[in-house]
Amino acid sequence: MTESHNKTSRASAAMLALMVLSLSFVAFGVCIGSTGFENLLSDLFNAERGSSERMMAEKIVWNIRLPRTVGAWAAGALLGLAGALAQGLFRNPLADPYLLGSASGASLAVALALALVGGAAGMVGGGLKPFAISITSASWMVRLGLTGAAFAGAILGVLLTLAMARGVQHTLRLLLAGVVVGVVLGAATSLVLVFSPDSLQAMQAFLLGSTGFVGWAACGVMLCVLPLCIAAAWSLSRALDGLSLGEATAASLGLPLVPLRAALIGILALATGTAVAQTGLIAFVGLAAPHLVRSMVRVTHGNLMLLASLTGGVLLSGADLLARWLIAPQELPVGVLTAVLGGGYLLWLMHRDSNTISGRAA
């Protein structure tokens, strides 16, 4: 058997393992929560049909835990895919999905939405409290408003970056414009929060990222966008392989660079914007997922994107489980966990690589 067959089977094995892990985490996600594993199962299967215990158990499983767990997986998968796309597009292993201004755009939009409605409620002494919005609000209208604002903000952030970079012709200019937009919109968000201190707490939840309030609607949106993005990204994977030889070589291979970059950025913005809108800013998943895949198996971009997507899903649903379990019945913000675990992983990676480099030098 040749090494290329081994490589293919390693990629298939990794894919299978990630799928099994995904299903296991979703199953665990249904079982873990403040009510506890045994109580819930016993209520669900042993309590009399129609009894209040059974109805409560069904409600917890179907309306809270299942959409939350599936949503966490889908958001992670979107971020993992976006991370692989960003790293391929910018030919930089440190590129992450938030690099094009989507995170800062979404943050500013959410801060503005909170300040305009939530802040106003605070300012008039709570008279509008029933309509005040917060990141933890369960109201459909409110959730749609916040996720809509976050999505619109993410897309506007990317468009602003594109405008500043004067299109998609130059990758380095795009990268710099993304950094500048991130800083400027971040400053604007801080300014909005200074004038609207009532929004701070809700905003903090958005900035830390949370899967706690993902319902079936959010799940539906993410599960519709995910296959679309994967299919579109996969269709461009050979072009991404070509791009990895440098832009001049890619152009000499006949690849239409400008439409290609525009399409990749469109997919990147859609995947990131959709995830950010539903879960807030979850750090490191998009950055770490492609790295984890590369540490397991060396593959072309087609397989990398599929595997990074699955890995992102596993990472975020795993982090969500930990966030619920570590200090149960309290919960940690999932974004804090991904930042700590992802940051730790990257530090370890840097440490390992520096050891390898010193080893080679010796």
Partner: protein, 249 residues
């Protein structure tokens, strides 16, 4: 292939000024000259990778009138310091040379695989075809990138510093590969800093200060004198057996 009155700039710097040169079909032309003469820029202009004024003709037709796909099937460019796709296996990199021949979503055909195998064998890279580029030495990597260019099986091959990182035995292999390509009717244009290797070509284009100062046959003594002049007579072209080499003065 020919360039007529070609000028090109990078940023505000004008690199090429009214360049005229002819690269005869089925022959190997080496482009030489001091650093900053505009050799690499000329190759990029010929590959349509830089905006330019003037006229570049490929197989009798202005290069800009070719469709992107047809042009990339006919002409291949191997750049200097080409970025390396570290994660890809050598075989996958060579397969990228087949992109111009493949449908957008189509899997590589048997013909694609055969072309890649031929190219990897020609550059002695077949043995490490399954290793990722990150695991290869500079010379091995250069041979894979050359295989990528050969896999396209284009009629015109433009190579910018193809010998960088190659040790003498592999430079000799490269020479044999180019000779075989030319014998099969391929036009090869290479920018080379190793003047002794460049003198193995059929024709030579000598450049300085963004222009062509001389065009001629490599074995011609007039070419040798022009070569010595462009390097301020700090080199001498001399013969060793049937070959010409340069020695520093």
């Amino acid at each position: 292939m020919s360039v007529e009155a070609v000028s090109a700039s990078i940023g505000r710097a004008r690199i090429l000024r009214d360049v005229n040169a002819r690269f005869r079909q089925g022959r190997w032309t080496s482009v030489v000259g001091p650093n900053g003469a505009g050799k690499s820029t000329l190759l990029k202009v010929m590959a349509c990778l830089l905006p330019h004024s003037g006229r570049v003709t490929l197989l009798g037709k202005p290069v800009l009138e070719w469709s992107r796909r047809e042009r990339s099937q006919t002409l291949v460019w191997l750049g200097q310091n080409e970025a390396a796709a570290e994660d890809l296996a050598a075989y996958d990199v060579a397969m990228l040379g087949r992109i111009p021949h493949q449908g957008w979503l189509a899997a590589p055909s048997a013909e694609d695989h055969a072309a890649v195998a031929r190219a990897l064998c020609a550059t002695q890279a077949w043995v490490f075809r399954d290793r990722s580029l990150a695991a290869l030495s500079g010379g091995e990597r250069q041979r894979v990138l050359l295989a990528r260019a050969l896999a396209s099986e284009a009629q015109v091959i433009l190579m910018d510093e193809p010998l960088s990182h190659l040790d003498p035995p592999h430079q000799a292999d490269w020479l044999a590969t180019v000779r075989a390509l030319v014998a099969s009717g391929t036009t090869v244009v290479s920018v080379l800093h190793e003047i002794s290797m460049a003198l193995h070509a059929d024709d030579m284009v000598i450049m300085a200060d963004g222009g062509v100062v001389y065009e001629g046959v490599c074995g011609d003594t007039t070419t040798h004198r022009a070569l010595e002049a462009v390097f301020d007579r700090r080199i001498t072209v001399t013969s060793v057996g049937e070959h010409w080499i340069t020695l520093p003065n």
